[in-house]
Symmetry: D3
Subunit: 67 residues, 6 copies
């Protein structure tokens, strides 16, 4: 009964891509550890680029620099 | 000083229901472990049904099937 | 299909108390929001008192002061 | 490669303040533990005052009382 | 720069299996969303079966029943 | 009433360093957002290097390569 939490920046992930993340993560847990998909949870959290920092600066700032 | 994080799908929980969750979780920690309510945090996070997966599919898909 | 994460300091919670927390949190979600217990997850995390801070000091320090 | 998650109530933190939190947390990990800023993540989550509870009541209720 | 947190029960996952989870989750984010593996974090947390509840009971209890 | 969660690899952080992280994070929230230290929580989680992945490999592997 695994729990998977995926945090990504909010930059336009589509419902179709989210389905793929959920299906893929569920399959991964089944293949590697034999976990039952019926009790596998996957939660995707989208975080504003102002609220995500790496290397001491926001992703908003990094995007402006083309990073 | 417990910390309780409750994640639910965003499907219309009302402010009154949230109050009940917060009061109930705080009381539970007090009754079971004697924790001081003054320093008990409860944070409710509501997650879009597109972003929550179980059994390899999104809750959006499950709701369409009447699950 | 709620997910509840309870963090407490590691100070001797017994298996019986953990059962009560799990049963109580599951019941709370069912009573307040009608959530199905079969797909309610509760995860308890116990944190060393050296690793938990409140008011700028560790719980280890606070316990020494009788707090 | 630390990961820092900061949860605050959604009460008007500005982009500039978020930058300061991200820069400050990254610097703290570098100064105390020598962690490389290039692989330090800081994620800020803003939580509605209806969804944050302390002492058994929501922050919304506490704000009304002037707390 | 995604962050993936995988929680599983502590029931003997090997270092090799953990490597597969980390490699697989990183590849998934790259394939579905084009995320850069260099800044993808995956953190696996193993939770004692006494501390994980589903359907209102601990996994310890469920394992005794052969579930 | 902020909540700060710091995850680091388990590689020998001392109680003194943890105190500094807790005091520093609490001060940061006070200075940037005027948050009350009395209700600021900081929780440090130490993660085994086998359980932390970056760039698709475990920190254990990276340490062997001198990274």
């Amino acid at each position: 009964m695994p729990y998977v939490n995926i945090k990504i920046t909010r930059e336009g992930a589509t419902p179709e891509q989210k389905k793929q993340l959920i299906a893929g993560a569920t399959r991964l847990l089944q293949e590697v550890l034999g976990k039952n998909p019926q009790t596998t949870f996957v939660i995707i959290e989208e975080v504003d680029t102002d609220n995500w920092g790496i290397a001491g600066e926001t992703v908003t700032e990094r995007r402006k620099k083309g990073m």
